[in-house]
Every structure is written in structure tokens, then in C-alpha cells.
Amino acid sequence: MAENPNTPAVELSGLSKRFGTVVAVDDVSLRIEPGEVVAFLGPNGAGKTTTIDMLLGLSRPSAGQVRIYGGTPRWAVAHGVVASVMQNGGLLKDYTVAETVRLTASLYRPAEPAAEVLARAGITDIADRRVGKCSGGEQQRLRFALALLSNPDLLILDEPTTGMDVEGRRRFWAALGEDSRRGRTVLFATHYLDEADAYADRIVLLRHERIVADGTASEIKSLAAGRTVRAILPGAAKSKLAARPGIESVQVRGDTVLLTGSDSDAVARHLLTRTAARDLEITSRNLEDAFVALTADEPASAVDAHQRTVDQGTLV
């Protein structure tokens, strides 16, 4: 099924999950192409983990459908097409690191050599250590090693670097990045905004059980706050500028104007070609600001952002 290059790695259509009257995931649709590295970002309770559970076939959607490389989650798990590193995945204390890898490897056809995945996860030197004696970060790297055994086409990671130190985290992402350049699709949920910013090709932002934004890190940043365009424009007519489409707010401070809007390029072009503006500067907010802005409880702007996402989504 994965041979067809047009088959998306992940396709969620109208996915919903209800627990009684509580809605955990509400009508989520998402398409991830093979080789993409996608970050799932959102506050706690936004529906990230529930969505991942449905992706892995651990829980059944109340409505909608999940397809992984064209197959069901069950098919994908049973054939090693998808593997995952779960935040709270259990390990048995009585096994050694190497035994855990050998046990899991016995379930895959084909399976990567145990020595190779131990090396890739950086735990060769602790192979004979009991799992119960490993630190949290070492256990997390063991889970990563297990996930590599089937050489999966899709890797799903739920808070993958929890418990790792800075060096471990850096090596983890380096190993992942190398894989994705060779066509592995990666979907990861994270709290660390800088990780999403640095390692994801694309960020999917969840809020209140829905996708509220979907795009590259810089697209997300501009979505939330827009960019601010600052220029020197003596005698600026505030009302005239504010009336232009794409400009959301105008501040005039002496000769300086500060304009915000979703399309900073258009604003800049207008200023430079149609006005006497000079010393133009464009600044963007960081992802953390965007995250806060997009996930804050302010219905109007969120709906607005969501609408823009939908518009943008049709172009993707």
C-alpha cells in the first residue's frame, strides 16, 4: 500500500471522539504526506493524546476515519508500518535493555538488527542493564530503540524527550532528522515550543478538541499575531491606512507608524510604493507568543484564526 506515492502517510477525516457527553476530539481532518515531520502542539486537554490513541488503534473513533498509508491503524501496527514512543509506555523492570529489544524484535518481519537500533538510540553501553535500574531518559531511549525495530514508515511520538537531558534531546532529534530525510514520516506531540519550531516542517495546533492552525512555524507565527510593520511616515493618515484590506491595527507615534496584519508583505509593498514611508522594519512574534495567542480563551480571534486556517488549508 505504501508503494503508491500518492497515498498520504496519515489521513484523518472528520475524526471525533466522545466519552459520554465529553467531547475529546471534535471533527479533526488532517492529511500528512510521506516524509513530513509534523508537530502536534496544544495545551493539555486539547485532544492530542486522544487523537494519537486513535491513530494507533488504541481507541476507536466515535465518528470519522483514520488511514495510515491507506490501511487501518490495526493493519499498520500489525505490519510494523507505524511505531510509536508513548509518554507513559510501560516497560518490564525485570528484563535487561537488550532482552526487551530482542523480545520486541521477535514480533517484526522483517526486523532491524538489535545491535543497530541500540546504537542508534545511544544505549549500547547499557544493553545488559536491568530496565528497572535505568533512568527515565534511558528508558525513553529504550522506547525509541523499540520503535525503530520495524524500520517504520511512520513514527508517532508523544512527548518523546520527556526526562532526557539537553544532550540526550539533541542527539534524539539529530537521529530523527536523519531518518526523515530518508523518507520517514514523523508526527510528534510536544510541550516544548522550541522543539516544534526547530524540528518540525509543519505545526498543527490543537485547541479545544479542534485544529486551530496548520502550517509552517513562520506561518503559525504570522497567523497568531501577524507581523508588525514599522516605518517612518510623516503625516500618516491613520483612518486611510486602517481602511486598507489586510491591515488589522494602526498606531501612529509621531512620525512612526506601526501596522499589524496577516499579510505583512502586502502592507510593506503598499507603504513603499504608494506612500513616502522609509526605514521600514518587519518583525514577527515568536512561536510562544503565537501559541499563547492561538490557544488563549478568546473566542473571536480563535474563530478568526481557524477560518484563516481553513482558507489556507484548501491551498495545501
Partner: protein, 264 residues
């Protein structure tokens, strides 16, 4: 740099044969089980020690029971007790694995849930066989007398009928997610063993107790396992007893197992 993994072709991917039940998997699990000191003490040492306390003195050695001596009678009863403890704790491993989240981890692999259940059953029965063999070896060294044919038949019956407790262990394993499930089940098994006549022959406990005992889950296993040595009790009732309790525990285990795999 470490060598990179090249992209594989999904068409080459297979599910494991027998859903994941393999010699590698079983071997690693057996080794892990033997590493657990509490399991070894409870299933391989305790029943033999009980036997030595009750069945190895001169009085019981010289007293006859069926085609052998009373020492052999007590040996078989303790072998049954060992098999019970072993198969129950083998089945109850499920509850520990559920408690620490290992079952969830396995659900993200190609391991088929039915293959997992079979692996636990094979492990429980292997541990049960080890326990029966240890008790009988200790028994023979300590003076148990019975014909070889009767001994081998008794070993086989004590072991094979303990499947009722493998089912019990699995049922409890899926019912009670706890890391210390055997601390709860140990006393329950001792009570069952007492009620089923393993510690004290039922004819010494009065008519009413003897009648009630026939309905408890250890009664049938004990009567059947001792049958090659001495015919006490009713074989028909014993067979019915084992069949009925196995069915009850297996249905219970199946019910919880389905609930578990549907949700997790």
C-alpha cells in the same frame, strides 16, 4: 555516524507467524519468570517444604495408602498445591503487566492478543510442571512409595488438571490490575486447597463439610491426581468439578480479555 536505516517496502512486511508466539518470546519470558525470587519461592520451594513438614515423618512413611504409602499421598496433594500456585501466578502475570503498562506497549506491536494469551498459558503450565516435578523429586527422596506407572500418571494428572488454575490466574489477572495480585490470591488458594482436601483428607472433616467440599475448585483436581494411587471420593464428580470450574474461569477470563482488548 551510525548507519542509517533505508526505507522498506510495505509489501515485504509480514505479521509474525502464530501471531508472535515463538520460542524466542517464550524463552525470554521463562527466564524473566525464574528471575522473580518471590515466584520461585512460592511455586518451587514452598510446596516441597510443606511436603517435608507433613509427609516425611516415620509414621506416615509406614502407613499404607492404596498402592503406595501415605507419604506418596501427601506428595501428590502437595504437587497439586504447587501446580495450583504456579499456574495461578503464571496466569496472574497479566495483571502485573497491565498495571505497569507493558500490555499497552505490546498493543503497539504486531503481537496478536490471542497469541499473548496463549504465551501466558504456556508459561503458566510450564511453571506448573516444574512445581509438580520438584515436589515429586523431593517426595521420592524422602520416602514416598508408589509404582512408577502410578507416579507418572499422577504427575501427568496433577499437572494437566491444573489448567483450571491457569484459567483462574488469567481471569484474576485481567480482573485485578495490581502489581501484588499474588498477595491476594495466595491466601485464596490456601483456602481452596484446604476446602478441597489437599491439606487434611476430607473424610476427617465430617459429612457436611465433605459434601460442600465437592463443589469447591480444588476437590476435583485432588481426587483425579491421587486416583492412580488411591481411589478416594467419586471420579465422576471430580471430572465434572474440574470441567465446570475450568469453564467458569475460562469464560470469566475471556470476558475480561475481550473487554480489555476493546478498550485499553
Amino acid at each position: 555516524m551510525t548507519p542509517s536505516i533505508s526505507r522498506s517496502d510495505a509489501a515485504q512486511r509480514r505479521t509474525p507467524p502464530l501471531g508472535g508466539l515463538s520460542a524466542t518470546f517464550l524463552g525470554l519470558e521463562l527466564r524473566r519468570m525464574m528471575r522473580n525470587r518471590r515466584t520461585v519461592i512460592f511455586t518451587l520451594i514452598l510446596p516441597g517444604a510443606f511436603f517435608l513438614m507433613f509427609g516425611a515423618n516415620a509414621a506416615v512413611k509406614s502407613e499404607r495408602a492404596g498402592v503406595g504409602n501415605v507419604t506418596a499421598y501427601i506428595m501428590i496433594s502437595m504437587a497439586v498445591y504447587g501446580a495450583m500456585l504456579a499456574t495461578t501466578s503464571g496466569g496472574a502475570m497479566v495483571s502485573i503487566e497491565r498495571a505497569v503498562g507493558w500490555s499497552r506497549q505490546l498493543r503497539l506491536t504486531p503481537l496478536n492478543p490471542v497469541a499473548y494469551l496463549c504465551i501466558k498459558l504456556v508459561l503458566a503450565m510450564s511453571l506448573g510442571l516444574a512445581s509438580v516435578v520438584v515436589v515429586c523429586a523431593v517426595g521420592l527422596l524422602a520416602g514416598a512409595e508408589l509404582p512408577t506407572g502410578a507416579l507418572l500418571t499422577a504427575v501427568f494428572l496433577a499437572w494437566s488438571t491444573s489448567i483450571v488454575f491457569a484459567a483462574f490466574g488469567l481471569f484474576m489477572g485481567y480482573l485485578l490490575p495490581s502489581e501484588n495480585v499474588m498477595q491476594l490470591l495466595g491466601p485464596v488458594l490456601a483456602l481452596f486447597a484446604f476446602a478441597g482436601g489437599l491439606f487434611i483428607p476430607l473424610d476427617q472433616l465430617g459429612r457436611v463439610f465433605g459434601t460442600v467440599a465437592q463443589f469447591t475448585p480444588v476437590y476435583g483436581v485432588g481426587v483425579i491426581a491421587r486416583w492412580p494411587l488411591q481411589h478416594d471420593g467419586s471420579l465422576g464428580i471430580a471430572v465434572l468439578n474440574v470441567a465446570a470450574w475450568t469453564a467458569v474461569f475460562a469464560v470469566g477470563a475471556g470476558w475480561r480479555f475481550r473487554g480489555d482488548t476493546a478498550r485499553v
